[in-house]
Homo-oligomer: 406 residues x 4
């Protein structure tokens, strides 16, 4: 069976329905929150999700058992790009971060009981969640092993103490998945455990909402303090001390779904630029006939096509459980995060003042949204480090003298 890029007709139909829904329902709704998903009211979230259900495009990634379309990652690639064409699209389809990644994680590592209690309502859009891993310096940041939040055994469960920040969607979430150290010391490569902590559990407290450059995630990012926050044994998600492994279960696909959604945003920016290039006159011709503008437009087409090809390749590796998936995930995340940034930046440049105005075009907002993607989900530098290390590994030679033990 040769290499091929067609998708199943059912996936193609879902993608087309998503594109129509985004164009006709979601984009018009952007006005209601000035394009800032962060500031979107809960009522808008519910209305959009209702619309998505009516359009038959809700929860494309969720297994049929939990009420979704059960797409694999290749199918998600096509549909999530269509959804990402509006920053509100993923929220409408209930496939936005961090809920989408949390659904995946719960499906893979939660007990049946945990799934019924947490995954079912989350998949249905009836609850929201957050993923509490990142900590302020000197805790877990680009290097997760620096984890400092601790979970200590107490009778019947665990006591969590520590501080997390940049926790997306925390404000208003019904539960948090919290990463805490159950053994070892900051810097150790193991010893982390995940916990399901319900909103309202004593000792878990949002201390502030962090104002950030991006405003594209519902409820934004918060800083959370855990002080003697006690949870029962049944709140452990996955095995004790296996938190870092479980994080990988979540992070690989989550990085790719981020890429898919952002690729849709890049396509939106490029389309705005193309529309401008096709109509705006300058220096005696239409913008799109000027060589330097053509160069920017062409470079963005190249960036978009290369991103799409890499995403599909990586989705296939992940879907088939290939050993190459980890390397390709790093490669794709790094490339796409930077490519998407370049595409939006060029669109802003082509549109000039219009690209800078927040009210007159979506570009200034998109520029703010895409920048952090080079930092979130592992900064480009961390991924490059991992890519290089894997590439060098088979060529690493024992040093003669060292090998001799001297």
């Amino acid at each position: 069976m040769p290499v091929q890029f067609d998708v199943d007709p059912s996936v193609a139909r879902l993608a087309e329905a998503t594109a129509v829904f985004v164009r006709e329902v979601v984009i018009p709704a952007e006005r209601e929150c000035g394009g800032s998903v962060h500031d979107a009211p809960e009522a808008l979230r519910q209305a959009l999700q209702k619309g998505a259900r009516q359009a038959g495009v809700f929860a494309p990634h969720v297994p049929a058992r939990w009420g979704g379309h059960g797409l694999d990652l290749r199918g998600q690639a096509v549909v999530f790009e269509a959804a990402g064409y509006s920053l509100l699209g993923p929220l409408a389809l209930n496939c936005a971060a961090p809920d989408e990644g949390n659904m995946h994680l719960l499906e893979k590592v939660a007990t049946e009981e945990q799934q019924q209690r947490y995954l079912r309502p989350l998949a249905a859009g009836e609850s929201r969640s957050c993923f509490a891993m990142t900590e302020p310096a000197p805790g877990a940041g680009a290097d997760p092993r620096s984890l400092r939040t601790t979970a200590t055994r107490v009778p019947g469960g665990w006591r969590i103490d520590g501080r997390k920040w940049f926790i997306s969607g925390a404000n208003g979430a019904d539960f948090a998945i919290v990463m805490a150290r159950t053994s070892g010391s900051p810097g150790d490569p193991g010893g982390a455990t995940m916990f399901l902590v319900d909103a309202g559990t004593p000792g878990m407290r949002i201390v502030r909402d962090i104002e950030t450059l991006d405003e594209g995630l519902f409820a934004g990012h918060s800083e959370i303090v855990f002080e003697e926050c006690v949870v029962g044994e049944e709140q452990v998600l996955g095995a004790v001390d296996r938190g870092f492994d479980n994080a990988q279960v979540r992070l690989g696909p989550a990085r790719m779904t981020h890429c898919m959604r952002w690729l849709g945003a890049a396509r939106r920016a490029q389309d705005v630029a193309l529309e401008r290039a096709g109509s705006r006159m300058a220096f005696g011709s239409v913008l799109g006939d000027l060589g330097m503008v053509q160069q920017m437009l062409a470079d963005s087409e190249i960036d978009i096509e290369a991103s799409r090809a890499l995403i599909l390749r990586t989705a296939w590796e992940l879907d088939t459980g290939s050993a190459a998936a980890a390397q390709l995930t790093s490669v794709s995340k790094t490339f796409v995060a930077e490519a998407v940034g370049r595409v939006v930046d060029r669109s802003v440049q082509i549109c000039g003042a219009l690209g800078i105005s927040t009210a007159d075009a979506p570009l200034a907002r998109l520029l703010r949204e895409v920048r952090p993607f080079r930092i979130y989900d592992g900064p480009s530098e961390t991924h490059r480090f991992a890519i290089a290390r894997r590439a060098v590994k088979p060529y690493r030679q024992p040093r003669p003298l060292d090998a001799a033990g001297s």
Copy 2:
């Protein structure tokens, strides 16, 4: 007399005093407006300017006759960089855009009477001004010759009709310098005239404040409509139909002073990154000992030094009235606008989540401020076009058939 880079001791002292003033007075005041100069209250502007006067650093660029230090552009290069270290610094020293460029223009082309009425209070910080040239499509944008606002002779003066947007500082300005077409048609290379229009003149109306990516200019950017706005003959600034020439008087130095101020902002961003790199631990060492971070830090040092050298070179050409000044101004503006953008972008990357947080560091704000600089004052593409055209000119050959006269 050989090439040399020292500045006069008096200039060096003024630069040092400015640096101290910015560090001790201006940066602490950033808290009062969340770093957004746009939203700074008028009282803060007045307090800062009072502080600058007390520190002896007010109006460095203004000729002594009008109460300033009378620096040439080389001197301004050093002092404005120090002022730009805070976005509020230029406002404090009364050397922010657009007032600074307007002072220069008024000094060069205004009548004595106009200078007494408009320049004197402007130089003293007692009034504010704006420069109304840019128009929405299909009017004057990257290509000023597309100018569509008209000024028609009426008895005793002129009637101005048209629409301007992205007019910085317009809201609350005491007067506007307005560019309007007095002859010819949109696309013609001449036929523009400048007018001094007082706030409150009937027919001039701010129709909206434009929310933009950047918020670093006092009072932001506005859209203005002129409908049968009549001004007297004495309000013509410079000669009739010489508006484009006069705009060049303003724009060359104004582009360079922009570069100087933004270079200070880049230095600030780099210093924040260096501070982080010197203290934050990751992967077993301090950030600043990691190769990829070192590469970013080094590239930013290179960008800053190259910018500084180009600015000084161009300032010298402008100060000495060299014919090469126009080309070097385009070269410097293009390079510095892009270099400053790269420096701030790298600083954000190095600082990670901290670089994205608006509350915890100035970087997210700076990132928003510097982006439009590649568009304002002539987009990079327009400058590159001009640079190439000048470079090719001596090599342009008559086409054989042309040479044959056919």
Copy 3:
């Protein structure tokens, strides 16, 4: 049937056999010509092709009818990359430019008689060919429509007059495919015809071999003069005046096969760098543990994976006759040509003096070979122009006056 990247087991076996053949037979033979394919003796070409036949890897792209493996472009993508790992590999497999593209062209547009006479021996490695299109200024270069070589009807055939240069493989070729203008004038979009011209036809004369930066093509590049070179009617290849269309038949796939072979060269360069990075000590650690080296290695892995994904995507579009193939061919050619250049350049940098030495590593040679790829087969600028034009087309608005019918 979902997106998938596996290849048929038979193709995978052929690719693996090719890799083994290149490693064990071809790379050791590089010493015999100092790595310069240009200077390789005819005997080496024959010996390598004999070896390829014995290894069962000869002519992977040639239809079974003519003695090859009959791979489609997706299959070629995998096998040609393996062949390109040595500059001599494509020569050994008889899939090097320009013969490989000419075989494709002959298979698509030649008559049965022409195929028997020209394609059969060419596919068997018994003859060599060239493709004579490019002309010195002001003739056909980046813009093929500038074609100036003429073919004029004479009794029983055509008389060709003109000058061609940079004609790869011309020296020693058994025949040339020559593009000449049969109607219209230089600049016209049509009017070209292809001719099969046997070596030794009076009036066709190689006037010089052009010394170039690259030396990776057998027999190098020549300049050819046509003076009253008469050929019979049966030497017309394809229809009269359809030469530009036929050129597209050749050029689309030919651009992609170039990409495939060069990707193999990039992989070779990266492997040399990885080997160095895994063993060379500097500043107290192995090179591959230094951050800036890691960054280069990672960027090259990214460039290689993105190139591979784009090539496969485009090969699929071409294999399935998709309308999107033309755009993706331009996208891929532009990206891969630049990516390959970056990869080799980084490898040189990582290897330092070793990267510069022609005798001690293949990198200095590869650097010279890959540079012209950004110019050959359409310079990047021409492709970007085409990409942008296609992207803008649906957004192009009729200009108001045009719409009014004036």
Copy 4:
């Protein structure tokens, strides 16, 4: 005294005379060696130097005492750029590497007797020299402290043993300046000493000439073996164990003079591209009117101007003995080496096939020459490391626990 960029009239005259000499005498002579300085015959070197003496432009950097013009580095900046416009120019003026750097070193650290014996004929063009520091792995490369060649005390002098490679100008040199370890072990930051070794000294033997990508240095690069090579005490250059310090005396200015000469080569490449852009027609207009070509031309003008400004700034710091000189030397070397590479690369792209042809334009040769400059004299990565380390230093914080000694 304010910042200023004028040079003394005498320097301006010397630069102009150099430009005329290069244009009228040196460039026509390029044909005699196919542009390859490496392959230039000794007779050509002598003829060109005679011509330079007659034109009054010989030895611009040499102090008057030794027969030159005694220019400081700022003066050299202007004159060396003019000389570098042809690869043969520096050879003609006797200011090519490595002799030029060796003259500077001898002037600064040699004894009077050594100067009479080595510097006098070298400055007069009557002898040639080389600088033998770089060693094959695992010896001194990017990291000089890895020095492995040893010099051991023997009665009356020193015995040198080791291997050096990439020693420019060694073949035919009258003497070598050899760096050898007199104390400590490979990796130690000190312990090196310089020795003057006459050609013909028993035990010093050139084992091969290394074929490299670049061919722009007279006599190319060689590999040298030292086996029981004994020299007398009077052959020590500078103090024993101070070799690394003395290397800095040579390397700082030598890096800048490299930049100056290469900037001339970049200017040459850009002028070739401009000439092409002003005359070659494509797609209905002259190349220089196409936007993407304009972008390349403009970017090269920017690179050239920024390089020039940085070189002058750094020359001033070195001339005035500023503490900032070391950092600015690294900044300038890194920027200029990369900028020069970009300029030549763009020129090749603009000229298309002509840029690739070795016989038809100087660009293909220049492309080969400039590439190694990013590796020679310290690879860009080593300089970036040094730049970052200096920048971070004032921000480096003692780690609390370390500081406490626990």
